[in-house]
Structure formats: structure tokens, C-alpha cells
Symmetry: C2
Subunit: 351 residues, 2 copies
Amino acid sequence: MSYQGIIETYKALLKIPDEMKAVTLLEGNTPLIPVPAIADQLGGDFDLRVKFEGLNPTGSFKDRGMTVAVSEAAHRGAKTVICASTGNTAASAAAYAARAGMRAIVIIPAGKVAAGKLAGAIAYGADVIQIDGSFDDALSLVVSISEKHPIALVNSLNPFRLEGQKSSAFEICDVLGDAPDWMALPVGNAGNITAYWMGYKQYHEVKGTSLPRILGVQAAGSAPLVLGHPVEKPETIATAIRIGRPARGEEALIAASESNGYIMAVTDDEILKAQKILASSGIWVEPASAAGLAGLVKEVNAGKLNLCGKKVVIICTGHGLKDPDVITGQFTKPQAVKAELTELERIILNG
Amino acid sequence: MSYQGIIETYKALLKIPDEMKAVTLLEGNTPLIPVPAIADQLGGDFDLRVKFEGLNPTGSFKDRGMTVAVSEAAHRGAKTVICASTGNTAASAAAYAARAGMRAIVIIPAGKVAAGKLAGAIAYGADVIQIDGSFDDALSLVVSISEKHPIALVNSLNPFRLEGQKSSAFEICDVLGDAPDWMALPVGNAGNITAYWMGYKQYHEVKGTSLPRILGVQAAGSAPLVLGHPVEKPETIATAIRIGRPARGEEALIAASESNGYIMAVTDDEILKAQKILASSGIWVEPASAAGLAGLVKEVNAGKLNLCGKKVVIICTGHGLKDPDVITGQFTKPQAVKAELTELERIILNG
């Protein structure tokens, strides 16, 4: 039987309505890519892999939750979905709503959404509205609107989003034959860390797999769960986790502590360095997606984590193509040279 | 056993050196997404699916060939790879070379490469050189350089590229249980149509699957195989197939005619319309990738193709994220509105 998407693959483990028809783009089934060269840089002698969630249909992990949230909304007759977004949720909601024949309204913070993401939401036909405010403002507005009008909220406050996002934990266990010892991931609105922990606990109960320790990583300029209080003006180059009041903050703290892990912060410089390390193993991710590795690097270098003999998984949530400006902004445009063999040889052989 | 990439999966069917170690990012295994709404728009009563090759690790189908070409180059001790590229090959060569610890040199035509693609090549660490000339100029230069210096050519003139690209035909047959009746795909440098036909013929011989009829689609401003002569100044919004002298042109014509299919041209307008149709089913592709559907639409509407009862597959070679400017260029930037409930309700309910 060929692959049918995450609802069909894992429906026995998802709390979803009976008879719900799947609105699917065959999301999930993303590769778990070994990165031995990066493990070596961190001292070696452990198994390090990247769960490359940027290879979902709209380029981010959001598709796992969106297939369930939009399917459920369609199941109960919704004609419109709404979400607040830093970009990835917008593109995903727009794609699945289009597929279901529904209208998608996405509210984004003006000027703070990466180019590739905004283009995606527009391409899939969403009504995109920029507000003069933060992601957190946008989220509280869409909650109010969904309470007053027959419009389905598809942010990760919607429990069906988390049901879908659990599936990545299942896939990791299916590939490794067990849970990893450690799993590191970026933490923004905190729905994903919550969902992974739900998924690992459920597989532990149903299949007897082990439980990982979870390292949640926030950006230093947007680290409410590390600071212990909301951040009014979050700032970071990792726009996907630029969130000052995480909707699932409490659950994230519980997930980290129950798993015997913790939540930490890394600087934008550490994030960009980790992005380069991943790219040098052939995996280009958006800045937020490098936060997990940045956290691992920091803790290993500080002697706080000993990974020797362990299985470690980094979650990379979105493709580098989502945010090309971060790359092009760091480089001067390559100069155009004459289309002439001798000239080209000179440049290449001296290069 | 978990998925190991195309070399490990199909090595018995690939002409590759014994003992060659795979340089892999777990490419391939891309979804074959049903698009019944699009089939309905084309008259219905047939099975239409999109092979979404944009979900390969670097965002395009090029990764299938690159894993084999770079593995083979590494196997014989090459330290440097070179290619000419309209963008997708560049990103793929850069990623696999980085993974293999090799230097990648990519030569691109100045000003004619989509933003997301150039950023990718830079992110993965390639030496990017823009030349004041066309793709065709770039290709003839890299051929000369690879003949004079110990630098491995990884354009699709390299036969190992085609060995890898065959794997998509295998995957389609594995999912459908047989070859489709028709397959439509974009044709630029013509390596991909050649590789698909090789793959289908090989599966036909080895596994007894049927053979599809192939519809190759060029952009009208860059259609040497339709016109019957090279195009000196190819022009099209579909930059990935903006090629006036296809390296595998003869083989493409043979593939089309042996398969009882043909090669045709579509306008940029037809390509952009097909891109919108795909996005409205939740699949955002770069313009070139919409050429296959544009061709189908044109032929069905002209009464030249009757697809009733058939299985039809469209190959979408690259993700929409590769070329966001095509989308954003068609829209005015959404206006930022006040972060205020009443104002937002007014806009949404009138929307």
C-alpha cells in the first residue's frame, strides 16, 4: 500500500472524529537524515540525525497538524478557517483550506514575516491581512474572531493540530526502532514541543518505546519560557519563533521537565552558526530550525551534555527556502564575469 | 528497514560502480498526490496525480541524479565538481558536494536565476560564478573545463545523473502498480524526459510494467525541440527550462516518439494559469513545474487528448518556494491594518 498521509497512517492513535475524511497532501513521512560529520564536530561517538520537516508539502512541519485541523473543520461543515502566523502556519492553512475548497484568512504581523512564507500564503489563495502589531496581538484577535463568528481557528490552540503533530514522534520511533535518548527542537508558540511529548508518551504506552529527554531551544531575544515571563517586544532573526507569549507555554515547561530535559536560549549568532553547520552537511534550514542544533552545540561545548553512545535527533522545522534573505543578506551578489574560458579558468583555479 | 535514499533502494537497477558509497540526503520517495479537483476541471473520469519532486531535499528533482553523480565522483577520488545551472542543479550540486566534503563550482547566467535558487547554492557553500551569457554558454564552458582539469562535471551530460533520475519512474510504477497511461513533464535541457523513458523501459523489461505515453512540454519562448532548431535567446518566466540548446535534445525527441507521445509548447500565460490551478489544490510549484499541466490543459481543451478512464501523472519538478518573486510580483503588498477587533471584523466579513 502506498503512503497515504499521516491521518491514514496513524489514525488508530489520533483522537479524531469517526468517519472524518482526510484533507491531505500526503504530508509527513519526512526523512531522518544521519549527520555523522556534525556528530564528529561535537566530539563524536554518538548517533545524530536530523528530522527534516522542511520536506513537508508547504515546506514546514505545520502541515502535520493542519491536515487534521482542516479535515476536522471540514467535517463539521466550516467554510472558513483563520489563523495568526509568523508565516509557516499561514502557508499551511492556505494550502489545506484551498484543497478543501474553504476560505483561509491569515493574520500576520506587518514586516516580520519571511518573504518565501508570505508568497506561499498568497500563492495558495489565502486572504492575507497584515496587522500593525505582533504575532501575540494577531493570535488574540483571531481567537476573538473565531469565538464570535462561524470561522474555524487553526492555530495550535486547536487541539487537532497537536493530534497531527504527534505523528512526527511516531515516525522517529518507527525509524529508530525506539525513541532517541535526546531530542532537541526550537520552541516558539510551544505547540510542537507539547505535541512531540504527547506522541512519545502515547507510543511508550501503546508500543513500549522509551521516552526521550527533550531540549527545547528559544531565541535569546524571544525567550519567555527561559526568562519566566512574557516578552513584550520579542526580537530574533529566527522569525518562526519570534513569539513573546507562547500559547502552549505551560505545557512546554511540563513536557521539558517530565522528560527530564529543559528549555534554554541561544543567541542569533549561535543560530546562524548552527544554520551554516547544517548546510555544510547538505541540509539548508530556516534560521529557527537551526535553534535545536545551536542548543546542543552550546550545551556540549559547556560540558553540560555528554552525548557519548546516545541516539540524538534534531528537529528542523522548516526549509531554508522559506527565508532566503537571511542568506543573500550576508553575501554580496556574485560578480558577473565574461563568458570566456581563460577568464573562468583563472578564477576557478585561484579560487 | 527505514528509507535509505534512491541508490540503496534501487541499486540493482542502476548502472553504478560496485562498492560505490552513497552520498545521500535520503532524496526521492516523494509523494504522488491525487488531484481529483483538477481532473474534474479537465472533464473528469480519469485518475490524475502530481509527482511532487519539489519535496526532495534541496527543493527539486535534481537531487535524484546528483546523489549518484556526486557519489560516483567521490568514488573515483574527485575533489571538485562543476556544473552550469539555471539554479536547481546549482543548489543540488552544492548540497551533495558539501555532504561529500568536496568543492562545488556553479556557473550561472547572470540575472536569470530565481532568488531562492541562488540563495540555496550560496547557503550550501558553493563557489557561485555568474557569467555574462546564457545557460547554453555556461554549459559549453563547464564542459571545456571538466575536459582540461581534474574537475567532475555533474550536469546531466554526466550519465550517472540520468541513472539516478530514472528512480522517479520506478517510484511511480511502485505506487500505481503499473506505469500511468500518460505522463506530462517540462522539458528544458531534456535530461529528465530521457531519464524517465529509460526508467519506464527498464521496469517494463525487468518487472513487466506497461509503458506510458509521454507529453513533453516546453515554454513557447524557449522551444527548440518544437521548432526544430536551437533558440539563440530563449525567454520565458519558467527560468528552469530557459534553455535554447538542450544537451539531451535528440534523446528527448526519441523518448517522446518511442512512447507514442510528443513534445509541444505552451505560453508563459498558460504556465502561470496552470501554476494557479495546482496551488488551488494545495500544491505550489515553480513556474517551469506547471508546464506539464499547462500542456495537458491545452491539449484536452483543443480536443487532442481524451483522458477518459486513464491514469495520468504530472511531474512537478521544483517547489514554489524556489521562485517566490513570480508570486509577489503579481500582487501588491497587503496593507497593514490596525490591530483592532472591530476593524478586522469589518475587513474579514466584507472580504
